[in-house]
Subunit: 139 residues, 4 copies
Amino acid sequence: MSNSLFFQIDPDNGVPVYEQIARQILFAIAAGGILAGEMIPSVRQMARDLAINPNTVARAYRQLQDDGVLEPIRGSGLQVAAAAPEACRQERQRLMKERIKLVLREAYQSQLTEAEITDLVTRGLSEARADAASLQKGS
Amino acid sequence: MSNSLFFQIDPDNGVPVYEQIARQILFAIAAGGILAGEMIPSVRQMARDLAINPNTVARAYRQLQDDGVLEPIRGSGLQVAAAAPEACRQERQRLMKERIKLVLREAYQSQLTEAEITDLVTRGLSEARADAASLQKGS
Amino acid sequence: MSNSLFFQIDPDNGVPVYEQIARQILFAIAAGGILAGEMIPSVRQMARDLAINPNTVARAYRQLQDDGVLEPIRGSGLQVAAAAPEACRQERQRLMKERIKLVLREAYQSQLTEAEITDLVTRGLSEARADAASLQKGS
Amino acid sequence: MSNSLFFQIDPDNGVPVYEQIARQILFAIAAGGILAGEMIPSVRQMARDLAINPNTVARAYRQLQDDGVLEPIRGSGLQVAAAAPEACRQERQRLMKERIKLVLREAYQSQLTEAEITDLVTRGLSEARADAASLQKGS
DNA sequence: GTGGTCTAGACCACG
DNA sequence: GTGGTCTAGACCACC
């Protein structure tokens, strides 16, 4: 279980597959699911697990290396950088804050009233909470 | 001023230009900025106004026709369908609800605690409100 | 009643408006609703009656003149040619035969079985008969 | 032969080329010539085969995607949706029924007697049948 | 390789 | 004048 990553990839999500992989690895590190110094699955292994093209996995890994999250160990593979967990937590916070703010601004710009927006948010919060709960249960 | 539509197109937005046009028209109808039965600017006119290719505008209009929002008046132009305003309001509601829910679910999946999420939302709400206010003032 | 033509124009029919006018005049002559030597309404009159562009009516009349169905009377208007009724009957027959054959051939080419086609025809016949009846009643 | 689609495109048909393509694919799926999950020829391939512009093919494919008939496989191509065959059969049925009914109603409205219409239909049926037979033979 | 977007420019049918 | 269709060719993201 520690060595197997349970990612959910949706190829028709609009979000590029390599982006989904990179983001989920980043979030897993931020949440402590993967620790500093730990090795991550090889490109081929991950590609088999997710049933996707190895090139796509490689691209996600490359991006994480560029961000300093992963470090290459010659002849061995990629490991999580020492400073990665803290950096990932900050990045996660930054990303989510930005996305939330963006969507709320969009709501305001679309001429919805304040009441309608807060209503949508409240409903969205409870639904998302329910979804998250059922997902955890289902896994 | 009543006859001029103030659209903001960003060609490098990721979102296709024709999509931006279609969405802004849809939102304008939902907000009552364009009424049922009203004619919308011709393909060529809109293309001139936005300084983009007429084909791109035509594609946006075609999509709105497929959605039943616009109706062709042969040899004259396109007008807003009678049922469009109500449909556009529902569609706008649906779109925003979906986006908000998506972001919130992402927040939950990113292993943020409930407290962190509600904090981000409240901050985002106030910031977005401030932005919207300043935008209205600035216009 | 003899002088007023009850045409049904559908601008969004796919079939051009001027075609609809020309065809309905042709069919009216074939059916005896308009007799040889009779004058037809002026372009302006017809345009007012149908609430369409005079140019469109003019184009229909021009086409009927080219076909020899209508003859210009200098300073007076257009009248139905002497040979028109018989010609219109033949033309009507030809048109309908062609259209029916065309649609049936399409049905065969679309890989429908013979049984499905005859079924569609039988249903279509009864429905069309019902529609025609209700239309006559409704008028 | 199993992998080659034999489409007949007539550029001067009145019916737009992209419509002809979309309809023939729809009919091919309805007839079982293309199965669910199967990949259809790429835009460029089809454009080469039919000697037309890739954009025209792309438009046909886009329309079929909007109708839920085709699904994009990112970076790979387009495949027939699982629900497409049944949907296409229903759509084909609907289209043909509508066309047949339209023609028959026209026949009634053109003041032909019921006897004349049924006569035209029976003749049309036998002729269309003969044409279809000779076409099959000739292929 | 794949589809998607955008531009530029031409031609047509219709009113 | 209007929208609709088609062509030609370019660039992009993704796998």
